[in-house]
């Protein structure tokens, strides 16, 4: 590689330090009126095939990262994170009851659901907006996605265990047995009433 001459070096440095693309005239003016076209051509040849290229766009010259390396400018980093309990509950409710509005999710959870919770489920790709309910206020309704089924190894939502199976598995027992004990232990008959709803959908 032959050493570049001073004009080439000056053009190279000028374009490198410029905060915007420069026209031939601007470069020339910056360098005391020197004729810079030859230097530009030389630089362009020099940088061809390198990680950085000298390009002309609409009569203005600038350095830019080589097109095939553009992916280096944006790198993705994945953080593995566990779904929060609130989000897991919301997901479960959507899966069992879909399509549901946020108000319905809250009614079933008995707790307010933060806006971010549904965003997380959508970011995860498991929940999608499934339109609007045609009732006053036209609330957005949510449903699960194909990705949801794939991620959880379900062939369809029918694969989700029904209420009776949940009961059999003890999953409907109150979590907080300690609470029951404290309040006098009469934790028995909690009405056949409650489970009536929907395994269906």
């Amino acid at each position: 590689m032959s050493a570049p001459d001073d004009l080439v070096r000056a053009v190279e440095a000028t374009l490198f330090a410029a905060d915007r693309p420069l026209s031939v005239d601007e470069i020339s003016r910056h360098l005391g009126g020197a004729s810079v076209r030859g230097a530009l051509a030389e630089l362009q040849a020099h940088y061809a095939g390198r990680g950085v290229e000298l390009v002309e766009r609409g009569g203005r010259w600038h350095f830019q990262t080589a097109g095939d390396l553009a992916h280096l400018l944006r790198r993705e980093k994945e953080d593995v994170r566990r779904l929060s309990r609130a989000a897991t509950e919301a997901l479960a409710i959507i899966a069992y009851h879909e399509p549901v509005s946020r108000a319905e999710i809250e009614a079933i959870r008995g707790v307010q659901t933060a806006r971010g919770t549904l965003d997380v489920l959508m970011e995860a790709g498991w929940v999608r907006i499934a339109g609007r309910r045609e009732v006053p206020g036209r609330p957005t309704i949510y449903a699960t996605t194909g990705e949801f089924l794939a991620h959880f190894g379900l062939s369809s939502r029918r694969d989700l265990p029904g209420i009776e199976e949940l009961r059999a598995a003890g999953l409907l027992d109150p979590v907080d047995d300690a609470f029951a004990v404290l309040t006098g232990g009469m934790e028995d008959d909690r009405g056949g009433s409650a489970d009536g709803e929907d395994e269906s959908s």
Partner: protein, 278 residues
């Protein structure tokens, strides 16, 4: 005796002659010999700074400055300032006093007992001037370097590197099902049932107290109206408390109906009760 630079002591050498001082930022004041000093105290960063500049004007290596000359120049400077009634900061005056003292020590016959000797005091001053001089020169050389953003430039319009963070959310099917179970269990309508508790009703207290009152015109304490009897559960403290409360309300009711009199001599004293003589 003029030149006090202690020739007998080894002195660190940094600068060869005065070239090294060229190009330094000169102080705010300048001036030639003999009273041509003009006074510009704002230009000085303290007495040491002034001394250093005076020393530099001796046009010699800092190792070989004449401390006595330096002292004279400093004192001359201060006198001039005072003659012009310029207000001098205290530290300049302190330094002047100390230098005058040092000068007298250097000129007077030597006291061999004195520790440290005047020469050593002078040496210390010289060492300090050397250090300040060295740093001043270092600062100047630093400032004269090719500086990023002034002489050399980073790329003017870097595309920038971006790291897009993405979350990969983790959750197992079991978590979902368990969560649903939890929600269901949590939101099942709760039925509240109040357990039957042992009480004495107001009605039964009223009839009991009323009946017992009819047979006695003596003052009797309310507690004596309470039922007793081991077998019937009247030893249950809860039941006894209930009986007392109900009997008290019954007594009030009887008094209100004009069938009984109530007396209590002191707060929390025994509550006495008798039938009203018809």
């Amino acid at each position: 005796m003029d030149d006090v630079a202690p020739a007998n002591l080894p002195v660190p050498s940094l600068f060869d002659g005065d070239e090294a001082w060229d190009g330094l930022p000169s102080g705010g004041a300048a001036g030639g010999e003999g009273g041509a000093l003009y006074l510009e105290l704002e230009g000085w960063e303290g007495p040491l700074d002034l001394l250093l500049d005076l020393a530099r004007r001796q046009k010699v290596d800092l190792r070989t400055i004449s401390i006595l000359d330096l002292v004279d120049q400093y004192l001359g400077y201060i006198n001039q300032a005072e003659a012009l009634r310029l207000e001098l900061a205290a530290d300049y005056l302190v330094m002047a006093a100390w230098l005058a003292y040092l000068k007298s020590l250097l000129l007077l016959p030597r006291d061999p007992e004195m520790q440290p000797s005047p020469e050593e005091l002078a040496l210390k001053l010289q060492l300090r001037l050397q250090r300040l001089g060295a740093m001043r020169e270092a600062g100047a050389r630093l400032m004269a370097r090719d500086r990023l953003g002034r002489d050399v430039f980073a790329r003017g319009a870097p595309e920038g590197l971006r790291v897009d963070r993405r979350n990969r959310w983790q959750c197992e099917l079991f978590d979902v099902i368990q969560a649903y179970g939890t929600v269901k269990a949590r939101t099942v309508p709760v039925v509240h049932m109040v357990r039957e508790r042992p009480v004495m009703t107001l009605e039964s207290a009223l009839s009991r107290v009323g009946a017992m009152l009819g047979t006695s015109l003596e003052w009797r304490e309310l507690r004596s109206f309470l039922p007793s009897g081991e077998g019937e559960g009247w030893d249950n403290p809860q039941l006894r408390r209930s009986a007392l409360a109900s009997s008290f309300v019954a007594a009030l009711e009887l008094a209100k109906q004009g069938k009984a009199e109530l007396v209590q001599d002191e707060i929390f004293g025994p509550l006495l009760l008798r039938a009203v003589a018809a």
